[in-house]
């Protein structure tokens, strides 16, 4: 890792990095009972980016967010914000605002007072602050609620107030700690789109924490998948979905089949693997291909039932057939005892789909990946 506020090479853009954390470690507790919440994490988040920290609970994503906000101090490592070292700064001098999981709206203040609080603390003249509050109210479409108390609002409205409150002081980075978790599904879908467009509109760097992989894929410019205090993979939603480098990432994002295999050897830029039932196939390699034992990943949608005399790549016994509307999900039991889910999108005419039938499937080119 270089220490300058460097270019971001991966997608060819040259945007500055807004947040840059180096060798960040956070331990809770002391001595024997110490828990490592964050383990030597390096991360660069670019200016004007919708960045998501994704992982199961306890993976360290909220700890990372709290370190950036300044609520916790790292055990070791540094954090830079826009080129300035903020590692030891207290939260109230960091140009960073947070949307809290349960909103943490001030119960003794009206909606307007909540939104204007940050501006007031920054010592903005009241006229300017009032204008900004009005602007924020219209941004989140709550003009009519300006003088309500916050406990008179619905969950979705409270969410908007929390958002407006955090955006009002125009922070350099907005941190969002699972802000949609408390909303019902329909509202959550709407807010996902709204958040995304709000980010584009304001041009502020958003760092969004979630355990919901679908949410992460929908909204993010880039995603960091975390587990056990470490970042496993960083990439665009497409990279994360199509080219998982880690078994956990593959499993966590979307539906996927993971089969045990042995590496047979490289063939061009691909790797030949032997599955447990003896079939061999070519798999796209992830660069750091292992010797011997490995796992391969297949997305259900890159597999379909073999038709019209096609030579099947794999064969299994049909255990379950689930109608999905636009497709059928076939649950096959392979010879090795492993389960394989196939999403068959086309017509099922002429295929024997009776329970227990032997079904052969073909795999789309490049549909198999070797996992580390």
């Amino acid at each position: 890792m270089t220490s300058d506020t460097a270019k971001a090479p991966e997608d060819g853009t040259t945007r500055r990095s807004m947040i840059s954390a180096r060798e960040l470690t956070k331990m809770f507790g002391q001595g024997e009972s110490a828990v490592t919440a964050l383990d030597n994490v390096d991360i660069k988040i670019r200016e004007n980016e919708f960045f998501t920290l994704l992982g199961p609970s306890g993976c360290g994503k909220t700890t990372l967010l709290r370190l950036i906000a300044g609520f916790e101090l790292p055990t070791s490592g540094t954090i830079e914000l826009d080129g300035q070292d903020i590692t030891a700064l207290p939260p109230h001098v960091r140009p960073v605002n947070t949307v809290f999981q349960n909103y943490a709206l001030f119960p003794h203040m009206t909606v307007s007072e909540n939104i204007g609080f940050g501006l007031k603390m920054l010592g903005k003249p009241s006229g300017e602050a009032d204008n900004r509050v009005k602007q924020m109210l219209s941004l989140v479409q709550l003009e009519a609620m300006a003088n309500r108390r916050t406990d008179q609002l619905s969950g979705g409205q409270q969410q908007r107030v929390a958002l407006a409150r955090a955006l009002a002081p125009a922070p350099k980075v907005l941190l969002l700690d699972e802000p949609l978790a408390a909303l019902d599904l329909k509202l959550r879908k709407n807010m996902q789109i709204e958040l995304k467009s709000l980010q584009a509109e304001t041009g502020i760097t958003f760092i969004f924490v979630t355990h919901d992989q679908e949410e992460a894929l929908t909204m993010s410019d880039r995603i960091a998948v975390m587990r056990d205090g470490q970042i496993l993979q960083i990439g665009t939603p497409k990279e994360i979905y199509d080219k998982p480098t880690h078994r956990f990432v593959a499993d966590f994002i979307g539906d996927i089949n993971i089969l045990e295999a042995e590496v047979e050897g490289a063939e061009g830029d691909q790797t030949r693997v032997r599955l447990k039932d003896g079939t061999t196939m070519l798999a796209r390699s992830t660069g750091a291909d292992t010797q011997g034992h490995c796992a391969v990943a297949l997305r259900p949608e890159s597999i379909r039932v073999a038709q019209g005399g096609e030579a099947p790549a794999l064969t299994g016994q049909l255990e379950n057939l689930v109608y999905m509307g636009s497709a059928h999900n076939l649950h096959l039991r392979l010879g090795s005892g492993e389960e394989l889910v196939v999403r068959h999108g086309g017509s099922t005419d002429g295929i024997d789909l009776s329970p227990g039938a032997q079904v052969g499937v073909v795999i789309a080119p490049g549909g198999v990946r070797v996992l580390a």
Binding site: A69, G70, F71, P90, P91, H92, V93, V96, N97, T98, F100, N102, A104, L105, F106, P107, H108, T110, F117, G118, M121, L122, N147, R148, R149, R165, A166, P169
Partner: protein, 308 residues
Amino acid sequence: MTDTSLTLAEQESRRRRRQTRRALLAPALIIILTISIMPLGITALYSFLTPGTYGGVLWEFTPNAYVQFLFERDIFDGTLQFNDSYLTIYMRSIGLAFGATIGALLIGFPTAYFIATKPREQRNFWLFLITLPFWTNLLIRTYAMLLILRDEGLINLSLMGVGVIERPLSILYTDTAVFIGLIYTYLPFMVLPLYASLEKLDFRLVEAGYDLYANRFQVLRHIIAPIAKPGIIAGCILVFIPGLGAYITPALLGGGKKLMIGNMIAIQFGSSRNWPFGSAAALILMALVVIALLIYARSVSKGARARG
């Protein structure tokens, strides 16, 4: 007006329910009546009677006790002259009680905050320490305070030992001693309600405050204090009112020279043998407290209404 629409049976059952309710309320009402209303009534009655020569009262109605509170009757020509000595005692008592309330708040708030931010399983231990003084009689605790404050006491000896002062500070038998004694005596009554409201405080709100550029002082002023306001007010009332009527503390630590209302009233029933005046002084004290509480209650309800 609803009678016409009700059947006789319904009226009967309602009447019976009312009776049951009255019967159930009776014990509580009797207790309130005998231990609260009746003594007050007797005090009010006595305040309008004439003092007996050897204590007690003579059944001759007169408002003299209330006149005596503000005026002195000239021995020779019987004219009334304004006398502010009792008023001075009231003002000093109010001042001392008010000062002790502020002092208890300044000490009690950090204490309660400290306890409320401890891990849950440790809080009971700290609360236990706060309530520990109640295990000992107030009189004994006040004597202990006397030993600490006197010229050869803990404070003076240690200050002289470190060399901060050369001669002992005479704290005992001054307003300062009474002030310290009042804070000491009533501090738990400040800490407990403060703790109760701080314990419920959602500390994410504190984080939200820091996040929105408030420094420690601003978080305290704009977030913690407004939310803990009910506890602050309850604590202040619980310290101010008993502090105003304190008896043992000024009697021992003030050395009987610096009277507070409580001592003044006690003297009327004792050596002065003027029960009506003692009663009147007690009622005036109560009236002041009630008026202060009413003003407070009105300002709170107005504030609540303004907020909607």
